[in-house]
Symmetry: D2
Subunit: 344 residues, 4 copies
């Protein structure tokens, strides 16, 4: 048993306030399948947060499910989605998108972020009826590599997509961390102007389980509950999802939790830099990728949980450290102390 | 707002003991994706309950998802599943099975229960490579109509399936109620001898969400986690599912809850019969279908929540009343009192 | 080796004029994938025959392929097609429609023909997002049982479909025989007013292979070549399909061949009736279903090829006799003579 | 209208001997769906050619259909196929493989040929149940770039695949040209030892339409006709495919035609080299990729049909010239003469 796990941001359960609401409303009778009063209130809170009454909100148990339902609902059988080779849908969803019949058209992206130029590269493979027609661009914020989109970048991507008849969809599994990054100049109200659909990740930011799909573009809203049900995503006790998002959005908890996770990561970054180490990517969110000598990594792994990420050279590798709403500052300090000791 | 809802068995949240365990273990760090200590313990408890160490257990968020993952994992592209026309996969899953590429071959079944003869009828449509090849028989216990399988019936069906090279799969959304019926002579240890796979329903029997898929036949076990992940069913916080089943199976709670639901239904049945009304089906489980005059139904519906089920004749219809672990005896009594008053 | 096979209408190759055109144009260089001059001319001839310049015509190798491509191109993932239980897509295409992800919603139909009432029965199973949403009605003319649609019947069905937001699609595998039936008052120009899409069957009426899909409703035309290509139906030498339809539609050959097949079947009907036998269905097309004593069927089967169709009672069964463009009158006469002799 | 089209190897119809056989057997009555005497004889000839009585042979209308049926028949839902980024299934089949639910895992390949090292690169993306499991390696011979596999290369690939539990499948759309290349040391008898399945391309080598799928590995043979039927590939008049392969394999015609196409391409290569031009790839098959100045390409395109392939630099591009069984030597000479004149 190690001292603390930085393996991921879903090692603990849910934020206490989330559990409290589940508890206090537990015996209240409600309608099933997402038509309960908690889903309705949570939807209303999210709309307020976005400053948009015209969006549709649907609650779903997990991120892979959110991605496959949204993409399969948008795409005609012969259409595909452009994504970074490193993206979650391409790398870590066991072909969930292909299982719904659609190609993921990949482009190599060093920092996990798509740009108009990179999307254009994906588009350039399209010719005619012998090739898959690109229809959606898939991005995530923060990305798999901890990087974020600045407003100007997202705007450029959004405009490019519109000019090419492409929908822009954002996987927000780590949206709280992405938006609360010290370097982010995006907020929810701006975000909703640039994407056609996205999901607000709960699982990795304080919920027990749950993601909130937001459909912005009217063209994507029709009969969406049928898609959810068909893919097995319409929970009888939708109340469990709704009440969690209610707790998260009632008084800004969602953003506080993302901020806390970032602060813990930031503290790690400063400490690690202070010890003279560098990083594989420039991350200001809750996933960081310090580069350590392999021997140091071995010793660290006896004390802490984390993934070894990339082999940098014959003697050094990067590791991934992930913080969350549940990470205590003392654990961060303990890690830095141990790192300092191991270095010597 | 009515006095009480008998609409379904998922109107409330989870059983207090389920919530307690979620609460008490909340900050414990665990591995993700169902490899946490709660899933492991719950799996072990379920194996003990079944008296079988060799089965595989996987936890899933919902029933439609369980059905589609299991069936899609078993079937070759050209194979199909035989089911009652009234079965959940045929009637109320929005084509989830077909969306994975497979035909549901239906047979008309008056009481929701398949027999060797009815399965043979489904088989009779099979000819050669121009027809879908039946490979699985889908049943549920209790059924959509509240009926149950006796051991002798399940045994006969199981033997028939084996003799025809068919797998037998049971949807156990309401398994606790089915097994705890006063007329049931089946228990979990027997059940596991007769089916190749089944799921133990949590959502409708005390869990917030969750079903436990049990794979009995070795041929069905291989790489099952890939199927779960691809269909969007592998939750990062699998612990949430595991700890609920841990609470349900730690000291027989699962069966107690099913028994309680049945007792409440039974009390309703006795009271309604005592008032001179009859029922559409013979149910000893937690769904009952009394037949009332339409005018009475209208007045009842102002006081209680329920679905109108079948038009019996021009003046009478059946309604569905569902009880659950959370139904209090006083509510049942109140309903019967109101019914008596409305009758006069 | 029997004297003649009435097994089906694809026992021989193609009509001599079809082969002649393939031969005479063989070394002419043409563009691939259906953009050759033969496809273009055949498309033009078909449009003239329909009196409609605004339809789209696409040539495809076979009927199952035509059905699955058209239906999969129309349906959203959660939508299904209403069809007779006896229909080809439900009974004899190995789940081809389900393999594209869609449910076939069946209704029992004694004579193979759908009516507004029967479609309404299929619609009645639809409730909400828990059920598949019906979107297309599938019919065939002639049907699997040799019956045909009269204009008034097709008109009523068409109007009903429009009023319910359903598309009407006709499988025309045996369209020539259907339209040229002595009892048919439908022609191609009328037909096109009542259906949203259909296919003109070539394989069973003089072509070596090939069916011509006609898309009437503008909503169904977009990017259809992508659907064809994705399902493996866009032949490099599309010319082979185009030139066959050119031969069939250049001077009314298509209809002549259907008429001939019907005349041969009609001659069989008269002869069989003359011998005192009755039929399972009333067919005026090229499939007939006489009822014979089983002992007679056994002896007949030593001389002629045919399928035994339905067990009528313990001593009698129906058989299916199919005629085609290639059936010679002398073979029909020979069959009737043999039947007469066997009877005595 | 240009003097001659080198656009592709399917600009003309079928070889005269193919048409002759269709013609001479046209009125013979045969069983449907590939159970006719021509399919049976052609299957037998192909088995002799391979020196293997234990393989299964199935005839199919086109190459995309062959690829999608074979791959979908092999793969479990969560499995994928490793292929060159430039491969036909990845680039030019409109996502046909993904439409059956499977991921194409791509590797960058300069000359279109996979090697154990490149396959290992595809394998390296595989981790666990979060990633698609590679199960098949897809190659073509000749490749999209005109290159071929030598026996030693195919053997190495085959052994590597076996060692990794991967099936090896070869797309043989241009197999005749590949095997008859002057540099090829492979023949059909050797080939069958190295692959688990492949198809013998007819459409691009003398047939009107048609490909012959050969299943070598016993594990891939079961119920294959169900797969064909479900995907719309089981033609009622399968005789049309069988008799063409009968004509092609009766007396070595298939290989003669491939040889002729190669000779015409070789003559082009020599002539073009003689005029001082180079080539984008080293091809000894019927697709060649000479590099010409753009201005010359413009003038050439007024006389001949071909595709512009790759932009080499600001002033030069490669074009693709394809020869076939139908290409006459005089047309080749004419092209070379015109090229010489245009050069000056």
């Amino acid at each position: 048993m190690n001292k603390y796990s930085f393996l991921n941001d879903y090692s603990e359960g849910g934020h206490p306030k989330v559990l409290e609401l589940l508890q206090s409303t537990n015996l209240q009778q409600e309608l099933g399948y997402g038509q309960d009063s908690f889903c309705i209130k949570a939807e209303s809170l999210i709309k307020s947060e976005l400053g948009r009454e015209d969006v549709d909100v649907h609650f779903i148990a997990g991120g892979t499910q959110a991605n496959l339902i949204v993409l399969a609902s948008i795409l005609m059988p012969y259409e595909g989605v452009i994504a970074a080779k490193s993206s979650h849908i391409n790398r870590h969803e066991t072909g969930a998108i292909e299982a719904t019949g659609h190609k993921v058209i990949t482009v190599n992206v060093p920092d996990g972020k798509l740009t108009p130029e990179l999307v254009a590269q994906g588009l350039s493979e399209y010719e005619d009826e012998h090739t898959v027609m690109p229809r959606v661009v898939f991005i995530s914020n923060s990305t798999e590599l901890g990087t974020i989109y600045k407003e100007i970048e997202l705007k450029a991507l959004s405009e490019f997509c519109k000019s090419k008849g492409l929908y822009l969809y954002m996987d927000g599994a780590r949206l709280a961390s992405g938006l609360m990054s010290g370097e982010s100049d995006l907020n929810m109200k701006q975000l909703v102007n640039y994407v056609d659909a996205f999901y607000i990740g709960g699982t990795k930011n304080g919920a027990l389980i749950g993601e909130a799909i937001v459909l912005v573009n009217d063209a994507l809203k029709k009969n969406f509950r049928f898609h959810i049900k068909q893919r097995g995503g319409l929970l009888a006790k939708g109340r469990v999802l709704g009440s969690q998002f209610l707790a998260l959005f009632e008084s800004g908890l969602y953003f506080e939790l993302g901020k806390h996770a970032n602060q813990m990561a930031s503290k790690l970054v400063q400490g690690i830099e202070g010890l003279g180490y560098s990083f594989e990517t420039h991350s200001t969110t809750n996933q960081i990728f310090p580069i350590f000598p392999n021997s140091l990594i071995t010793r660290l792994s006896e004390l802490y949980g984390f993934y070894i990420w990339t082999k940098i050279d014959s003697e050094n590798s990067s590791i991934r450290l992930v913080t969350s709403w549940a990470t205590k500052e003392e654990k961060v300090q303990e890690f830095l102390n141990d790192l300092k000791n191991l270095k010597n």
